[in-house]
């Protein structure tokens, strides 16, 4: 089969026009390819049987074990925000940093990193940072520009620091692309790329980004002397007590999710379920207006959950009865926490919102499956392969072009559309040029960080705008992100130059 360049161009032109028209992206990404396929069928250049695979693709999405993690992580992030857990952490950070502006920016960054490592939903995190940390930053005498830049960029860390929704979707697409590339080379014993590999691969680059931000912030505030913040203002925040449990709770969740993946207790999808359970227990335990009985049960549940992780160390004769008891307490704790949170009307809205966000994500996944079918039906994969092979600089040339494309698309599209449009098309080509899949995934993830911040369609900017005080101009916010986007590109460049930053940890843990 040969490629139909005309139809491929028509496909992408109509796709982008439809997306930019403002109709739901789901309609555009599925509908535009279908219309072009219709024209192709009438003209005899498209084989209709390609479309027959559409329900099969959808069924594949519904049976994808990896995707179970998505609704669970969404739920976890939303509940962390709704329950006031993450809010409390931010207040604690404001309080602990006392009156130094440098200490404040660094503690805001540190807490954002912790929230990111528990799961970190971009929208929820930025709204919280904007409402809680931004006023504190301004009070500490930090400029509007630096403060808003910090809030939006720290709020997006959740998508590069594992566990993250971006990384899960990326790993699914990258591993499919990798298998395709290997099969094309005639390699059939393929070592799979797992989401664990990609989580591990993104950890060090994510921290690198945090350090770059920290270095920049300290540099910008180098001349600032300590400023006394009036004691009265500090006290407003003092209502949020329980600092210790608040600071320990993210560590508990990080241990529960990342720990169970690293120690081989659970797959990433199962770890997401454990994290969701842990968040449920914590949220009920730390709830303001609480029922003593259920609070006790959920606290016992937290202890039981920690104990469950260690049951392997028990002596053989005690193991079964003790484990049974501990699992029972854990189960009871979960039920009590669910009841408690449902009664306080905190859980209902989180569940409804989880369903909406799940629908939003899978809407794009479903639409993208039709796009990729039509793209292949017109032989687009063959065309792109020829194009990439003819690029100068072999793998570096192709990589540079794709990275530039992703960066440019980041100005108008969201990460999820970019992943589903670019990776299935460019992935197999790049991975066929002997590029390591984990490294490539991390480069994509770092590059996609910019898409949250680049105007006009940077999601982080929208969320921040919705909570930012009206006196800050949108133009100021746009200018504020420039240094942080540059730092993200520097991180991308460093990881591109030194692949070991991404590859060391996965090799250490899983090889």
């Amino acid at each position: 089969m040969e490629g139909h360049a005309f139809y491929i161009i028509l496909l992408f032109a109509s796709l982008f026009m439809a997306i930019l028209s403002g109709m739901p992206a789901l309609f555009a990404i599925a509908g535009a390819p279908l219309l072009v396929a219709g024209i192709g069928i009438l003209a005899g250049s498209f084989e209709p049987s390609f479309l027959h695979a559409f329900p099969q693709r959808v069924l594949g999405m519904m049976g994808n074990q990896l995707f179970i993690a998505l609704p669970l992580f969404v739920f976890m992030g939303l509940l962390l925000e709704k329950s006031g857990l993450a809010r409390g952490m931010l207040f604690a950070a404001n309080r602990l940093s006392g009156n130094s502006s440098r200490a404040l920016v660094l503690s805001v960054l540190a807490v954002s990193t912790l929230i990111a490592a528990t799961t970190g939903i971009v929208g929820a995190t930025i709204i919280m940072l904007g409402a809680i940390s931004y006023p504190a930053l301004i009070r500490a005498g930090i400029s509007q520009k630096l403060a808003s830049g910090l809030v939006v960029s720290a709020g997006t860390l959740g998508q590069i620091i594992p566990p993250s929704i971006v990384l899960i979707i990326l790993s699914d697409q990258i591993s499919t692309a990798y298998q395709e590339a290997q099969r094309a080379k005639g390699v059939f014993a393929i070592e799979p790329v797992t989401v664990s590999d990609i989580f591990a691969g993104a950890a060090a680059p994510g921290l690198l980004l945090v350090f770059l931000y920290a270095g920049y912030l300290v540099f910008k505030l180098r001349g600032d002397t300590a400023k006394a913040v009036p004691a009265k203002e500090m006290q407003i925040e003092d209502r949020e007590q329980k600092s210790l449990s608040l600071l320990l709770s993210p560590l508990f969740l990080i241990l529960a999710v990342l720990g169970s993946i690293i120690f081989g207790i659970a797959t990433p999808s199962e770890a997401a379920a454990i994290g969701a359970g842990g968040t449920l227990l914590l949220a009920s335990m730390l709830q303001e207006r609480q029922n003593r009985g259920s609070s006790l049960l959920s606290s016992a549940g937290v202890v039981a959950m920690l104990a469950l992780g260690m049951t392997q160390a028990l002596p053989a004769d005690l193991k079964f009865p003790l484990s049974l008891a501990v699992s029972g307490i854990f189960g009871l704790g979960l039920l009590a926490a669910t009841y408690d949170l449902l009664k306080s009307r905190n859980l209902g809205p989180v569940l409804v919102e989880t369903v909406y966000l799940t629908g939003m994500i899978f809407g794009i996944v479903l639409a993208a499956s039709l796009l990729s079918l039509v793209f292949r039906g017109f032989g687009g994969d063959i065309l792109f392969n020829e194009l990439a092979v003819n690029l100068p600089g072999e793998k570096w040339g192709a990589l540079l072009v794709v990275m530039l494309l992703v960066f440019m698309l980041g100005f108008i599209l969201e990460f999820i559309e970019i992943i589903f449009i670019v990776v299935p098309i460019a992935g197999p080509v790049l991975l066929g040029l002997d590029i390591n899949p984990v490294w490539l995934a991390v480069l994509f993830a770092l590059n996609l960080q910019t898409s949250f911040l680049t105007p006009p369609f940077g999601v982080a900017l929208f969320y921040f705008r919705s909570v930012a005080p009206p006196d800050i101009e949108t133009a100021t916010i746009y200018r504020a992100v420039v240094p942080f986007v540059i730092l993200q590109l520097i991180a991308l460049f460093i990881v591109a130059m030194f692949p070991q930053i991404a590859l060391y940890l996965p090799q250490l843990l899983f090889r």
């Binding site: 739901p24 309609f27 519904m62 379920a273 909406y356 939003m360 809407g363």
Partner: protein
């Protein structure tokens, strides 16, 4: 256009019989549209409750699977399958829920500058030429797969898993129908509100 009619027709309805007839037709049409959108909302409530139950089932059975395996070194394939079945249905049935409240991502760089009329035209266009063909195609192609699956009583692709795999397969045509209903309801609900601001979701 639509919303201007009741006013004009209302004033003239007693004087000109033609306008009177138009007015009555208009009211009957309005009532039917109202009924349809209310029906869509009811349907959505049911879907939403189902999705929440599916989510709870998925989370619960996944946690139980981990505890069983890690602590007791055993497990049930049906339990794992229950989680997968619940996820599969949640993944597909959450789509119409998000559509009912217009929560699917839109790229609104240009949309924010469009007038209300223009936005509504875009929505009509999107529903008529993009949403409807896609989900009709999905319905037409997935229905036979479901009926075959039902006829042979297809069980889980996993050996030792749950029976009733056709329930998962039923999710696809059901989703397609719900998407058609919710998509049409979404544009109909906005029909009268000219100059309506963009819902930021």
């Amino acid at each position: 256009m639509h919303s201007n009619w009741p006013g004009i027709a209302g004033q003239l309805s007693l004087s000109t019989p033609g306008m009177y007839v138009l007015d009555v037709c208009e009211r009957i049409g309005d009532a039917m549209i109202d009924r349809f959108t209310r029906f869509a909302d009811q349907l959505n409530k049911a879907t939403l409750v189902l999705c929440i139950l599916l989510f709870a089932t998925m989370a619960g059975s996944t946690i139980a699977t981990v505890v069983m395996r890690h602590v007791f070194n055993s497990g049930f394939l049906w339990l794992q399958d229950l989680g997968m079945f619940a996820f599969g249905l949640l993944a597909i049935l959450s789509l119409p829920c998000a559509l009912n409240v217009d929560r699917h991502v839109r790229v609104d760089i240009f949309r924010v500058r469009q007038s209300g009329t223009m936005q509504k035209r875009t929505d009509w266009f999107g529903t008529a030429f993009f949403l409807i063909p896609v989900f009709l195609l999905l319905l037409v192609y997935s229905l036979p797969e479901f009926t075959i699956s039902l006829a042979i009583g297809e069980s889980s692709p996993q050996i030792g898993g749950l029976p009733f795999y056709f329930i998962v397969k039923a999710g696809i045509p059901v989703c397609a129908v719900l998407m058609l209903v919710q998509g049409v309801a979404l544009v109909l609900r906005r029909r009268g509100k000219i100059g309506d601001q963009l819902d930021v979701g």
